[in-house]
């Protein structure tokens, strides 16, 4: 009888802990995005963007506006250029010498494709999370510190505070606070992905690019990451590629559908998520979201 009582108290504590975890206050990132999408302000304007590998065009004439503080989901069948598109937004496409990008990507009015752009500064402003969690084979602490040290965002004791802050923001602090100096590779897949998000937001980017962030994770980790993404969008502008239409519907304020037409990826339709899923203007969109194509 007594034991039961204790159990129930613990349970309540646990559940209250869980809720306070879920709506814990975010610390990193200025809260300037405002209530998302009530008054959408463009932050990135992409015009006539084309992308080619060794001369073969994989993406043609994309015109798209990304709104500040919103989650934009990029959907579409595999191989239609979504990931290539994403990697051109922080010039990670530069890593592949065969890749050429033309057109304009204006981040707050500045064309980031211009050769004069400082790519290091750009990538600090536009963080990226990959499909497969890729923590460095270093300790959990060092994974976050590397970027902070590189960009001189903190030093001395400030470094530790910053590490704690970013880990708390992704809800990982309580799980790892006792083993900050053990290898990040010992974490589970979901924890690794949250660590990757923590080390990205530690740099206080304006935009976060997420390339299928849950596709390598189990359903429980996926749910945790989805909640996290929802919270992220209050502080950062999020652009995510996803193959999971339900996820796009659950999370995204805007959705863009990419499709391969005659061997080249194109943007078919873009708009508020509700419109894309309920009142698609394009036949392909209707077919794709209803599972009849793709």
């Amino acid at each position: 009888m007594k034991e039961e009582k204790i159990d129930s108290i613990e349970c309540r504590e646990k559940s209250s802990g869980a809720t306070s975890d879920a709506d814990h206050t975010f610390t990193i990132g200025e809260l300037k995005a405002g209530p998302p999408c009530c008054e959408p302000l463009p932050i990135v304007e992409i015009s006539n963007l084309s992308l080619a590998y060794s001369g073969a065009t994989v993406l043609r004439d994309v015109n798209l506006t990304i709104y500040r503080g919103c989650i934009t989901a990029l959907i579409g069948p595999s191989g239609c250029g979504k990931t290539s598109f994403l990697s051109s937004l922080n010039r990670l496409s530069d890593m592949n010498p065969r890749c050429t990008v033309s057109g304009k990507i204006e981040l707050r009015g500045e064309n980031i494709l211009s050769p004069r752009v400082n790519v290091t500064a750009l990538r600090r402003r536009v963080g990226m999370i990959f499909q497969k969690p890729n923590p460095f084979p270093l300790s959990i602490r060092r994974n976050i510190e590397l970027g902070l040290r590189q960009h001189r965002l903190a030093r001395g004791s400030g470094l530790g505070e910053r590490v704690e802050k970013s880990l708390r923001d992704v809800g990982l602090w309580d799980e790892v606070k006792d083993r900050l100096d053990s290898s990040a590779l010992a974490l589970s897949g979901g924890q690794q992905q949250r660590l990757c998000i923590a080390r990205a937001i530690a740099l206080e980017p304006e935009i976060l690019l997420l390339d299928e962030p849950c596709s390598a994770l189990d359903p429980i980790s996926t749910e945790i990451i989805e909640n996290l993404i929802r919270q992220l969008s209050c502080r950062f502008t999020v652009i995510m590629v996803t193959h999971n239409l339900g996820q796009a519907q659950r999370l995204a304020d805007f959705t863009a559908l990419f499709w391969t037409c005659e061997g080249t990826g194109q943007l078919i339709e873009h708009g508020p998520t509700a419109d894309i899923f309920q009142n698609p203007r394009h036949g392909l969109t209707a077919a794709y979201v209803n599972g009849r194509a793709g």
Binding site: G127, P137, L146, G147, Q150, A186
Partner: protein
């Protein structure tokens, strides 16, 4: 039910059963036989050398000066010369080799003309007989650069010889580092140097260690390249510019030119083999520990 158990049985017998075709069994027998031959050769060699060499091995042998052309006395000065030659070789070849490997794997893509040229020349160099390196070392270091027969000439010649081995295996080690680390570093806008020294090089360390062991192994066992460069003198060397006899040359000299030198030749060979095994073991343990630290079992 019956059907299910039948099919399970047939799968079981297909995988583990005795109905393995003859050709499969012959193939696995041949493969195992080949592996056994290689292992036996190594074991026989080690056994023979240790069996004939161990009885003549003592602490005095390791520190004494050789006398009577090496028939009596020990190998003290020879060990010192050998270690000095190895030291020179590694001090020169390690930074050069790592630099070249970094150039090949991190600064050029695999298909550019420059990297192909470097790789092609390395492969040729790796196959050049050591006597040719000896002649080159003699002409270039001893005569042209005026270093004479010296430990420095010998070490430098050895460095030229082990560089290709070192570079190619370090390059392999660097290439085996997953590209996700590079992409992750780029996405965090880490500088190339920071990514290289804090993420990529540490991850590639086991591969680099393998290269180092191969290089050291080749260097410590080298005879032909040293005869013409580091010389024959079996006293303690005064400096790096002094001539010094390497262990392998000592073994060669005792067994070929000194009648009655066989016992000491075997004892020296035992020391050489033991050194090789030690280097291997140390490098392996180091690489293993490093790797375990990096990946730290999920159970911890």
């Amino acid at each position: 039910m019956n059907v299910a158990s039948n099919s399970t049985e047939s799968i079981y017998s297909q995988t583990f059963g005795s109905e393995e075709p003859m050709s499969e069994r012959v193939a696995s027998l041949l493969v195992c036989g080949a592996a056994a031959c290689v292992a036996m050769t190594f074991l026989w060699l080690v056994f023979d050398v240790f069996w004939s060499g161990l009885p003549f091995l003592s602490f005095d042998f390791l520190v004494d000066v050789p006398s009577s052309a090496g028939r009596r006395g020990g190998i003290g000065p020879i060990l010192v010369s050998t270690l000095l030659i190895l030291g020179v070789c590694m001090v020169v070849s390690l930074p050069l080799g790592l630099g070249a490997a970094l150039f090949l794997s991190e600064y050029t893509s695999e298909n550019t003309t420059s990297s192909r040229l470097v790789r092609y020349s390395l492969d040729i160099l790796a196959g050049v007989p050591s006597i040719v390196f000896g002649l080159f070392g003699n002409a270039f270091f001893c005569i042209y650069l005026g270093m004479g027969f010296s430990i420095l000439s010998g070490g430098l010649t050895l460095a030229c010889m082990v560089l290709p081995l070192l570079i190619r295996s370090a390059e392999e080690g660097l290439r085996s580092v997953p590209d996700e680390y590079r992409a992750g570093a780029a996405a965090l806008a880490l500088s190339h140097t920071r990514a290289l020294f804090q993420i990529i090089l540490p991850s590639a360390l086991p591969g680099i260690m393998v290269g180092l062991v191969l290089g050291l192994g080749r260097a410590i066992a080298e005879t032909a390249a040293l005869i013409f460069t580091s010389g024959y003198v079996d006293r303690f060397p005064d400096s790096l510019m002094d001539s010094g006899r390497a262990l392998s040359i000592h073994i060669y000299d005792l067994s070929m030119n000194v009648p009655g030198g066989n016992n000491n030749a075997y004892a020296s060979a035992t020391v050489l083999l033991a050194l090789l095994l030690c280097i291997n073991a140390v490098a392996n343990t180091f690489a293993h520990c490093w790797h375990r630290n990096l990946t730290a079992e999920a159970s911890t």
